[in-house]
Symmetry: C2
Subunit: 802 residues, 2 copies
């Protein structure tokens, strides 16, 4: 931490009377529109006396935080014009869209994007009616909202999204308005620490505005009900310099906000200038603002004798029951008229020129900034040739390698080629996941204190590009913000703990789905690429709590248009898959690959072919005719996932040895969605192709990395589904060696052989004998592991013998 | 916030030389055991020269935070003895078990619970060997650890668990050691605010100890690398009075820790005394301690010339590569001998009496406190008769009621009967979920500032028992802590945002699974009861981001022994289910029920019968013989979930009208796991019962609340699965009226009729005509909704016409 550079002198009341009058008028226009959106389906300019016919049948929307949001918006407009700034506005408070949509409409962007919402009475009427209306738009800053990269329906991510947006965008300031409700969530509470990862030389800045609106749906907020001293301490403790803008009197508040924002922006500029001039990146106390204003500011003070403004009753629709209630209609009309719309809009319903002038123009409008339509700024990654990073595989199943280590070398060169547009994110495990080659090009960024000892292998530096913090929430939020502003990234995390961010995945997938299908003006962005490593099958001492392969179950619930799941079995497949994912757009790509040593199966050319198909017969591991002739196998041994593949292969080897006449077809799945019907997922195999691979009537033993029923969920429509027998993780674990864990869940070679014997009737008299040998092998292996604490070396060193 | 009562005078060096010598010796014993656990499988007392034969083959475990954890433990022992305290020790740092297991063994509890780990050489050898060893115990404070109610494998929940444990336990102090890695997680970062919900009169206290150990796996921690001033501010901002214990010299640190802990405990007692004497509950600045000590404290300073103590290299096994490396064996031996085991243990390997005396005895031992085996303290809830809270249903499908409102009245009386052992938890929506009758008995607890206006409907008070904070993480953490210490609770939350705590559910379910199956000395605890309300089908303006019924998918991945899922279709069924769940033990019960108005179907007696069976034919809605005769229906209309049931019923009504000859059997599912085979889940129907209900060859149209493939996942084994056609939510939503949303996802009455027509061949010439009418109805309804913003009243007011 360093002292903030000298603070520039800012006037206490920077707005001239004329400027104050105009800015207040502009705010009245915003508030008028917010109320209009919530209530009106007709008579938008109040040219007629308001009647219930003009009011929507259902009143949906949230007035509470809207005036505060537009208050901040218009004061930012002033500074953008004054200093020619690029600002992204991040609206954290839930349901705050009316406070954003108002100014977005007033500055013309809305009408440009949606011409039927024109800047006139007709357009205003349509603009009002569509809000929270079937077929219309929601009350969050959904993808349909120009300038938004943060929906805000699920609370907690505004600040991490904001920080992600300004990484490597030195000229961007993202203003993150944080709701005091949202501030209670865990993800938000730790995201304040993002300032320990911001380098003022190469990154932009986030200006957080904590909106102390006072209330949630039905409760006060914690931060609004602690002492000023505690609140100030909290933000100093988080590493900020807090400024307070508190009150309710508009004239005074406009002056305070103008002065404070100017101060904050000047401080940010001064910090950046000093760092950029000197070339020395230090962590300053970045400014932040606490805006304490009444909930439902400027709304009805009381309704039916109940306190409403500045109270929880203003949270949603402060005034309801409009039908058959002329008194409420009158209150609504008075409320709308209190903003004096006739002074703001001309006869046609167009904002008057002197107010129109207050907004910036073109891409300087926050609603039209290219940063918030990142696909337009996105440039393809300069990709190294992934084929050069593979391992030599002369013979399948003969050599071992750590599957993720060459990926690290590949990512290193992706980083090297894209030093301002690519970052790698992970909780604390880049090295543990064998990706540490990246550090040769860029270490981890660290703007908190660095001590001498760190030189010895801590791999941190102020200009690193690898982001590590022990918060999956913050990491994913940063990455999403980074992608949404047009850049590229790679997130690797612990398989079991990917569930920590289940909900963030859901939200991002939904955002992509809407953008892709309903918002043509949004350009595609880079995919969110997630590598799940430290997988369920290698938890020797972590045990049961670290065993959960169910993240992919969640992923398969989302729209087929935006999700992809890959289980590369070896190094070359992982490289091929990762290369594909890094180049893709508008997906969430999930790759599951263990970091430990695994057998290598496919040469690079074979891997590319296999991954391109996504599923296929491994002929070298099969002894049937592999689909070339109508002669079919006796059994299909299928597998998906690295450990599952090795065990399936070892089982196949036993079968070939014990039952030489048995025809086994070996099928490996890399692309999980190949299993689904083509009608369900664009990657899905046709029924005909599926039947060709899996036959229509032969037993299939399917060895799966994850929960076995996921495979049934994907394949229940398939012809041969009744003969599909799936093994996978079924919550049978504790402290186990890897193979013992496999045995407990019956995905090991011996149990797979037993499964085949159970399902293939024609194995003859040898079957009983082999059965007994398999059972003995399991017992013996477990005894060995319990005695020695490790798996039998002949099993872990096993190689494909043919 | 109020000033802390006068601080008692505590000596700066409270330990006499004799006490200091002994406490340090005890700590040496703890550290010796921790190192022994990580490394040794034999020669536990070093009676022979250490050789590699004595060392485990795989070295697994985390030394880093262990010395700090036992350091805190033994100082707490001193205070327990001195002041006769009840303390629960919550170990937050990941993999900290060696630091806990050491003192747990030394005070005898471990040997009492596991007699083969006796307090002698043989027992110590077994105790060492089992650690992080196949068939043994993990390196977290797993359920097998006496005194633990917090596994700590997934980071983030130590503090919320701690706060949950002390609610309504006025005499309990829970000391939560928070790792500085864990402190970076979101859930932990917001859990500090739990102090705004603690009433010093009736609740106990949490004493947080932030262990600034300095490093994670491979990184420094944020809180260890900000200035002292920032750190102090942060905790003042969180509402604590921080004390700092910093250093590395054991003698000085022992004195500092003894003095500081004594100060903190005295302050807690003084705060409680003042509040309890005066009867005035105010929020004080509760004390907390920052313990800054070296990572891997007392371990090797350097290994192979690399800095190790006080560095990230001490995080796991600081000294590895033991085999064929006599030098490392020697370092290990010297390290172990540095604790002078011969001074600590007698010839038999038993702790010498003067050290044994330092630990408390009986249930005062933190490892043997009943609070940490809550099932032993648990008393059954005094339950009101749920049958008295139902609605009158003279005729099925004729009247409407809000399904959750009577549940609120029921919960009110559960609360009234159990005013010290039952609490209700929810983010911000007790009233919105129609449960507000509870407030008649107990309002929401709020220890932050209360203002005059709050009297007007905010429903907060210092002695409320309803817990609301906008953090699902904190709520679930509190509830888990509350249940694990032997109490009862009810958590209601937004269906889509239950995913925020997916991972906490996983961890709690795994904890229960292990307790149930592998830890016989743990008594059963009350189930974790979760009501998912504000469900996917009613999101008029919240839209797409609030539509996700996939939490139950996650639940079905966990062990069948600990999970239960219910979809009560009406008020009486919900009451019956809730009553059952509140009385159950060792489950996670998930109940999905919408808060809005729904048709009522079953009288209380019928509801009890239906819910007890969990699945059944509704004869009044069927026109087949309902399984009484061998004559079978033409189609089975099945449903699960409130909205899905209404639409299935409305479809059945249309079918009865349009095709009077068609025999429709109507099946409703309350208990989701009835669908699974009895071999998969204890609630599962036998195949025979399933076939009787669903036939073996007739088409089944299954209308489901959630993602449709979940039903396939549960039923793929069933005889008639090929004829099962499931409708459910498939990510087709935006801003929609409820029925429009149903139509988009094809769970509405018209689409269901179309499904039946598609699948029943014998409907004759009327089929085409009805088909067209259904399609028209959908088009007309959508047009109506787009025009009016609401569903057609004749559809929402629809009643069962027969």
């Amino acid at each position: 931490m360093v002292a903030t550079p000298n603070k520039p002198q800012i006037q206490e009341t920077p707005l001239s009377p004329e400027e104050l009058r105009k800015i207040h008028a502009y705010w009245r226009a915003c508030n008028y529109l917010a109320v209009g959106m919530i209530y009106l389906k007709d008579n938008p300019l109040l040219k007629e006396t308001l009647t219930e016919d003009h009011v929507k049948n259902r009143l949906l929307g949230h007035w509470g935080s809207s005036p505060g949001l537009s208050f901040v918006y218009i004061h930012l407009n002033r500074l953008i014009k004054k200093h020619d700034l690029d600002i992204v506005y991040m609206a954290g408070p839930g349901h705050g869209a009316p406070g954003i949509l108002g100014p977005v409409y007033l500055e013309g962007t809305y009408s440009e994007v949606y011409p039927d919402k024109s800047e006139d009475e007709e357009g205003m009427k349509a603009f009002f009616k569509q809000f929270s209306f079937p077929g219309g738009i929601g009350s969050h800053c959904t993808p349909e909202t120009p300038g938004s990269i943060h929906e805000g329906g699920e609370l907690g991510y505004s600040l991490s999204h904001a920080y992600g947006s300004i990484l490597d965008n030195p000229d961007l300031i993202t203003v993150a308005v944080v709701g005091d409700g949202e501030a209670e969530t865990g993800p938000l509470a730790t995201a304040w620490h993002s300032n320990k990862f911001i380098n003022p030389i190469r990154d932009g800045a986030v200006l957080p505005v904590l909106h102390l609106n006072g209330y949630k749906i039905a409760n006060p907020t914690i931060l609004a009900r602690i002492s000023h001293e505690e609140l100030e301490c909290l933000f100093k403790g988080y590493g900020y310099k807090p400024y307070f803008v508190e009150g309710s009197e508009p004239e005074i508040m406009h002056q305070k906000m103008a002065a404070t924002l100017e101060t904050a922006i000047s401080e940010i500029k001064a910090i950046q200038k000093e760092a950029r001039d000197t070339g020395v990146a230090k962590r300053p106390m970045w400014p932040m603002i606490v805006l304490r204003s009444p909930k439902g500011w400027t709304g009805p003070k009381e309704v039916d004798g109940k306190k409403t403004e500045d109270f929880w009753r203003s949270h949603q629709v402060p005034l309801s029951g409009m039908h058959n209630n002329p008194e409420h209609i009158k209150i609504l009309e008075d409320w709308l008229k209190s903003y004096k719309p006739e002074e703001l809009f001309d006869e046609n319903g167009t904002l008057i020129p002197e107010l129109k002038d207050l907004a910036p123009t073109g891409h300087r409008r926050m609603s039209a900034t290219l940063y918030a339509n990142g696909g337009l700024l996105r440039k393809d990654l300069k990709m190294p040739d992934f084929r050069e990073y593979g391992v030599e595989v002369d013979q399948p199943g003969a050599v071992e390698a750590e599957n993720t280590r060459p990926l690290g070398v590949f990512l290193r060169d992706v980083m090297r080629n894209n030093m301002t547009t690519f970052r790698v994110f992970g909780p604390d495990e880049t090295a543990s996941n064998r990706l540490n080659a990246i550090y040769e090009v860029s270490k981890k960024v660290w703007m908190a204190d660095i001590i001498d000892a760190d030189a010895d292998g801590t791999e941190i530096t102020t200009d690193g590009r690898v982001m590590e913090m022990l918060s999956e929430h913050t990491l994913q939020g940063w990455l999403e913000g980074y992608l949404l502003t047009g850049r590229h990234g790679f997130f690797h995390t612990y398989e079991a703990f990917a569930h920590v961010v289940d909900s963030m995945f859901n939200q991002h997938a939904k955002w992509l789905d809407i953008c892709k299908n309903e918002v043509p003006w949004r350009a595609p962005i880079s995919s969110l690429n997630i590598l799940l490593s430290s997988t369920v099958w290698r938890q020797d001492h972590n045990g049961f709590s670290h065993q959960d392969p169910g993240y992919v179950d969640l992923v398969t619930n989302k729209s087929a248009e935006v999700v992809r799941v890959y289980f590369p079995p070896d190094v070359n497949c992982l490289l091929s898959v990762a290369n594909h994912c890094l180049k893709s757009k508008d997906y969430v790509n999930v790759i599951v690959a263990d970091k430990q040593k695994h057998l290598q199966y496919l040469s690079m050319d074979e891997a590319i072919k296999h991954c391109t198909k996504g599923i296929g017969i491994w002929e070298w591991a099969s002894n049937d005719d592999c689909g070339k002739e109508p002669d079919e196998p006796d059994v299909i041994m299928a597998c998906c996932g690295d450990v599952a593949t090795r065990e399936a292969l070892a089982a196949t080897a036993i079968l070939r040895e014990e039952f030489p006449q048995l025809k086994v077809r070996f099928v490996n799945v890399v692309d999980l969605f190949k299993l689904q019907s083509e009608s369900e997922h664009p990657h899905g195999l046709s029924d005909r192709s599926f039947d060709t691979l899996f036959t229509v009537d032969k037993p299939i033993i399917f060895n799966f990395h994850g929960y076995p029923w996921l495979i049934h969920k994907l394949t229940y429509h398939r012809t041969n589904h009744d003969n599909l027998h799936v093994r996978g993780y079924k919550e049978k674990g504790n402290i186990n060696t890897p193979l013992e864990l496999a045995m407990n869940n019956q995905i090991d070679r011996f149990n797979l052989v037993l499964d085949v014997i159970d399902r293939v009737p024609k194995l003859g008299s040898a079957a009983a004998y082999v059965q007994q040998r398999m059972k003995n092998a399991i017992i013996e292996h477990r005894a060995y592991a319990y005695e020695n604490g490790i798996d039998k070396p002949e099993m872990t060193n096993w190689k494909w013998p043919f």
